[in-house]
């Protein structure tokens, strides 16, 4: 407490510090790297360290030249590979979101309607996978899905199939991996929304002539809309740029933008193109993020 009075004399208040620190953090670890990436995306490939041309160059003695190279962006839209990868990523993310919703809604609903004791256990079970690293869990899926993996062996032993199913390195395996990994991100916000529901509304609906499924469709579903949107965004946004899961489970045909980015960066050492891909990906996701923010704002406004 003794250092605070002198600080306040120079115009630094405790409240100001509390607000400033996270902003400083964001500035240092988000804005600065973003500006660097943006800068690289306008430069050219060079055989140097780092492998791109500088943006600013001294020309002569007293003039500083800025060289913006838009070729990287033009290249993205002329080469069908990138457009294709972008579209495919959006498709995969969308399908995964729908699958997560179909699986996650009943789970979130079940948790919200459980007794408080069971509820805590169920929530713990949802969060439990986070205690292990994502990479390990995705590797575990390889063990489950591969030709001589657990699932094939069990099915063979039971006589359901006579030769191993080809599951690993297919879109199926990729969807399994994405849905499995992102499911908690959908369940948790949806649960938080459903948990606030006044279940008496369902009784009122039934009293007024609704069968239980009609009450769900007319009352629960519209009232959980914000939870559905929030959860879906939390799956969709990161799934668009997902790299690890398609790379490990999806096989060579899984053309996703995250993977293109990786290849450009590490295999081709084309940092400028990779940066351009990253910027376009970001711009693509900004509308969704803004939508998510407005949904969140509405959600917290309605909670009051």
């Amino acid at each position: 407490m003794r250092i605070l009075p002198p600080l306040s004399k120079v115009g630094v208040s405790g409240r100001g510090l509390v607000v400033t620190l996270p902003y400083l953090w964001l500035l240092l670890f988000f804005v600065v790297p973003f500006v660097i990436v943006l800068k690289i995306s306008f430069s050219d490939v060079d055989l140097a360290i780092p492998p791109y041309t500088p943006l600013l160059e001294w020309v002569g003695k007293n003039s500083l030249a800025i060289k913006l190279d838009f070729n990287n962006y033009a290249f993205l839209f002329t080469d069908p590979l990138y457009v294709h990868a972008f579209l495919n990523s959006v498709k995969v993310a969308f399908v995964s979101t729908v699958l997560c919703l179909l699986i996650g809604y009943p789970i979130a609903y079940g948790i919200a309607r459980a007794t408080p004791t069971t509820r805590n256990i169920l929530l713990l079970l949802v969060v439990l996978p986070f205690w292990t690293s994502l990479l390990l869990r995705v590797y575990a899926w390889i063990g489950l899905l591969k030709a001589n993996g657990v699932i094939n062996n069990v099915l063979l032993a039971l006589g359901v199939i006579h030769e191993p199913l080809n599951m690993l390195y297919t879109p199926f395996a990729m969807y399994v991996g994405i849905v499995y990994s992102y499911l908690p991100f959908l369940i948790l916000p949806l649960y938080a929304n459903l948990e606030k529901m006044d279940w008496q509304l369902l009784e009122a609906a039934e009293d007024l002539g609704c069968r239980p499924w009609q009450a769900f469709y007319k009352i629960t579903l519209p009232l959980s809309r914000n939870g559905v949107l929030a959860g879906s965004m939390l799956v969709f946004i990161p799934a668009v740029g997902e790299f690890v899961i398609p790379a490990l489970l999806g096989g060579p045909n899984a053309l996703m933008i995250g993977r293109v980015l990786w290849d450009e960066f590490f295999s081709n050492r084309a940092w400028p193109v990779a940066s351009a891909v990253a910027i376009v990906l970001l711009l693509l996701l900004v509308p969704f993020m803004m939508w998510y923010q407005s949904v969140q704002a509405r959600e917290s406004a309605s909670a009051r």
Binding site: Q200, L208, G209, R211
Partner: protein, 382 residues
């Protein structure tokens, strides 16, 4: 008042041939070992406002929920207009419920809330609009059709809930603490509105409440519940003036209860010696109790006279007269409550209307005489 027209109307509950509109027939509801409702039988007649009155946890809400179909009786059955409701789900019952929390749909406006039940029943569009408009006018919410529930005051929400549950013209309307969330002034006003509405629509009301004043104002009959049982059912005045037990006397209104023993037990009168009171109570009607039995005399505070001078004898010596000292006074404006301590240590509650603005006030520590009519005490044996 609901019961002012009683003399003119035929009273179905006194007519053994009257057909019950709602019949609760030996209904029990257990949750594990706990019997929330214990062997309750009750007949409610068409056009009644029947109030289930009891403290929280007495089983009144469970009973109401069984009528609505949200709970199924463990044993016994419920008939509504002659139809057995066993196994009939809420959405097929000819009753509607007004929930304590109102349970208005927050994502719909007033009009949509009220229209919800009619839409569900597939009533034609034009008819829905007409019935909703009529009902909103009836509850004086004509100008609020497009508002959302959160834009309404508590009283307005209550009326939307009422309109929503009445618009389907249910045979019986179930009301769970209908006025519980309103403040006192509004509550009084709404009570009379509710009675007026019920009179106009002729719907049978079954009201659950813990507020005895609410029950007294609304009800044609009250059923007092305790521990899952209906301990007494009758008109408000029957319940108040002729309580059948200490519990009912104490629960409905305030009362002074004196424990005593029967000294004389004649067909026309009884005398009760009460050590607690330090005097003998003379009651001008006979009772049925075993001789020498322990009985309780219940006397309402407003039926006790208080004076500084010795009162004229009631004609039975010193019976029904005690002395005491004023211990506490609560001035409520229209009346005052006096707590008078008797030499035995028992404190007696007396209320007196403040009829004069400049009355010679009885003050603290003053010695007073308390007396009452021979017809005032109610003698109960349990």
């Amino acid at each position: 008042m609901a019961n002012s027209g009683e003399a003119a109307k035929a009273v179905p509950w006194r007519d053994p041939n009257a057909r019950a509109y709602v019949e609760i027939d030996r209904v029990t509801k257990s949750f594990g070992d706990f019997k929330a409702v214990d062997d309750v039988s009750l007949k409610i007649y068409k056009g009644e406002i029947f109030c289930l009155l009891g403290a929280s946890g007495c089983g009144k809400t469970t009973l109401l929920r069984m009528l609505g179909g949200f709970e199924m009786p463990t044993s016994g059955r419920i008939l509504i207009d002659g139809e057995d409701m066993t196994g009939v789900p809420p959405y097929e019952r000819p009753v509607n419920m007004m929930f304590q929390s109102y349970a208005l749909f927050p994502h719909m406006n007033v009009e949509q809330n009220v229209a919800f039940g009619l839409k569900q029943d597939g009533v034609p569009r034009g008819e829905i609009a007409e019935r909703v408009a009529t009902m909103l006018d009836l509850v004086k919410l004509g100008g609020f059709a497009k508002r959302r529930p959160h834009q309404l005051s508590g009283g307005q929400r209550q009326r939307v809930a009422l309109a929503r549950s009445l618009v389907k013209r249910p045979k019986v309307l179930l009301l769970d603490e209908p006025l519980g969330a309103l403040d006192k002034k509004l509550r009084e006003h709404t009570q009379f509105e509710l009675i007026g509405l019920q009179d106009k629509l002729g719907v049978t009301f079954l009201v659950v409440t813990h507020d005895q004043e609410e029950a007294m104002t609304l009800a044609t009959r009250i059923g007092v519940m305790d521990h899952g049982e209906i301990v007494q059912a009758g008109t408000p005045s029957e319940i108040y003036e002729f309580p059948s037990s200490k519990f009912v006397a104490d629960f409905v209104g305030s009362v002074n209860i004196f424990e005593g023993k029967l000294l004389e037990d004649e067909p026309e009168y009884v005398r009760i010696g009460s050590e607690e009171l330090g005097a003998t109570i003379y009651v001008s009607h006979g009772i049925s109790a075993a001789p020498e039995a322990v009985v309780w005399a219940a006397i309402r505070p407003e039926k006790i006279f208080m004076s500084t001078a010795p009162p004229a004898s009631t004609g039975h010596g010193n019976d029904n007269i005690v002395r005491g000292a004023v211990q506490d006074i609560a001035y409520l404006g229209d009346l005052s409550i006096y707590l008078v301590k008797l030499p035995t240590g028992k404190v007696v509650r007396v209320t007196q209307p403040n009829t004069s603005r400049h009355a010679e006030a009885i003050t603290w520590e003053q010695q007073v005489y308390l007396s009452w009519d021979t017809s005032s005490p109610v003698v109960v044996t349990r």
